[in-house]
Point group: C2
Chain length 361, copies 2
């Protein structure tokens, strides 16, 4: 039947950018003779206000039955005083966990050179087209932790960076599979990030990745220490194809890579690994922009492109959206976050229209 | 009596850059009516070859009795096949530990804009003048670790990020004391880096830093999550003054910051905390350049400036060296790592001479 896409607009600018992406999704589907069934439910702060829970059971149930989830953003000052466990962000964390999404995908596409907002010199952006694959459900953020008073005075506190073979293996496969879809044979590369010269967990990481790599003879594997990777991302981002990282290293490096875009507004993401993948922009709910119709819809629209590619297996529709975004930016379409001095800024709807106009088979 | 400085040239280009720095140290001391006693012993690969140990007892003894240690670099392909515990790098690690050096200082000076090799757009380098203070003897690189087979197949491996109150406190004091020496009241800032929204150890880090900050009402404290810091370093490095980090986060962020210099050759460092501080360039032993007389001596010469400032308490001599380096770079003096297309490259001795010429009271 028709694939079902669950829309979770969420809070802040979430509803505005999700509506923009829905229109693009629908247009690209229509252009390819595809029909998509949309449903829409609450998550985050909006769900707290209506149902007292950032992830109501009904929302989770609908997510489980969908082919894919497209999310806007969650959170805002209205809910900042709630205890951590009942905040909007917790709804998204619980959703990712319930869906078993262990791999987070963050592309840095080459078009970030087009609008001149990157902090890097333009010549360093030539050939940039990388993606960070981050393990999302293990590592330092989920290991055993404790805090206790010491007899000699003061306290000690610890967190544990723990990985098991199968956790590394499955996210490594996501990275290598992804490398196969991006470039022709001979140009496929995975850079696995660790600190194997110091960390025991990194040694297991490196050995496991190396073993997985044996199944992908068409993909070149290199190992980089995380500090070196942090350096290379700034010095020569064009050298990377797929970066494969644990949870903590990926958190840091994917945000460093995002900074190279000059605006978070253009960046999409996907969370994969379970039966129902989730797609969302990298930016947050931006409460200061909410309701003003000025948010950049590109991050969510490109997340819709990733949805076509990874959830629906429809490369043509994905590429159509990406080309339209690239063309709109090349033609000078700019939301406020992208506009330089003296450049006019488009509203969310105008930017969306500029992209819709350029959707071509 | 005359302060004793122990020179540890080490391996690769170490001897060449240490000799250059010694000449600048001596000239700056002379200009201020100060005499320094130099001694010089082996460390690293050179010590392995001569004494079978990368840190011979005699070297450690002399280091303990010196006022400060100036090191070149250790390591090289000749010793790469030794077991990890007997490699040249281990000599340096053992020396730092034996001297109780728990704080590593890495400045990114504003002059990196002068020679045009930074990957950042020039306008983003305006006002850059930051220093990373990294905890060096605790955290994830030193906590309990293990690896074991699992009954269900595969293995698990972990490392522990553990901090105690007093470890955080003492490195925080180094950062706040440093902030007091760098800028006038009203402009002193410490950015403490953690991941307190997720990590228990970061919560202790943040609370402890906040308590130390109460003793420094003239220094403004802000807390930044490590992923956000990785982003801000690229977007707007000029916003930072002192960054205070744990061992792992500092490893990553200090290398990211170093990348902004466009060449590691110009960057100095200091390791503080014990009775005898250690100064060394950020770059390594660069075996491919060794013996050719082309290495950039600036990183070691600026480490000598830090030695005047932090070991001898002689700000005038430190500033004299830094001004001379800055002037030489502004006047176009370039070693090969700094020379752009069409710019001639100076040899190590020529670069050193260019700096010596510009030493002025
Ligand atoms: Mg992050
Ligand atoms: Mg490092």
């Amino acid at each position: 039947g028709e694939p079902a896409v669950l829309l979770l607009p969420g809070d802040g600018i979430g509803p505005e950018v999700v509506e923009a992406a829905r229109r693009v999704l629908e247009a690209a589907a229509h252009a390819h003779g595809l029909r998509i069934r949309f449903d829409e439910v609450l998550i985050g702060g909006a769900a707290i206000d209506q149902a007292g829970d950032p992830l109501p059971e009904a929302t989770l149930e609908k997510a489980r039955r969908a082919r894919a989830v497209l999310l806007g953003a969650v959170g805002g000052p209205a809910w900042d005083d709630l205890p951590v466990d009942r905040r909007p962000e917790k709804g998204l964390l619980r959703l990712r966990q319930a869906l078993g999404l262990f791999a987070n995908i963050r592309p840095l596409p080459g078009f970030v050179a087009a609008y001149g907002r990157s902090p890097l010199k333009p010549e360093l952006l030539r050939g940039v087209d990388l993606v960070v694959v981050r393990e999302l459900t293990g590592g330092l953020y989920y290991g055993p932790r404790a805090r206790r008073a010491l007899e000699e005075g003061g306290e000690e506190a610890y967190d544990t960076l723990l990985y098991r073979t199968h956790e590394i293996e499955r996210v490594a496969r996501v990275a290598f599979d992804l490398a196969r879809t991006r470039r022709p044979v001979g140009q496929r590369r995975v850079a696995s990030i660790d600190k194997a010269n110091v960390l025991t967990s990194s040694q297991l990481w490196r050995e496991t990745v190396r073993r997985v790599a044996a199944d992908y003879p068409d993909v070149t594997l290199e190992h980089l220490y995380v500090d070196n990777a942090a350096m290379q991302l700034v010095r020569d981002p064009g050298r990377f194809d797929v970066l494969l990282t644990g949870n903590l290293f990926g958190d840091i490096l994917s945000d460093e890579a995002a900074a190279l875009a000059g605006s978070l507004g253009v960046l999409p993401s996907a969370s994969l690994g379970g039966p129902v993948p989730l797609f969302e922009p990298v930016h947050g709910s931006a409460p200061d922009l909410a309701g003003r119709g000025v948010a950049n819809p590109v991050g969510t629209i490109l997340s819709a492109a990733l949805l076509f590619r990874y959830a629906l297996g429809h490369e043509a529709a994905a590429a159509m959206i990406e080309r339209a975004v690239e063309q709109a930016l090349a033609d000078g379409a700019r939301t406020a976050d992208l506009a330089g001095e003296g450049e006019g800024a488009l509203a969310t709807e105008e930017m969306t229209a500029a992209i819709l106009e350029r959707l071509r088979v």
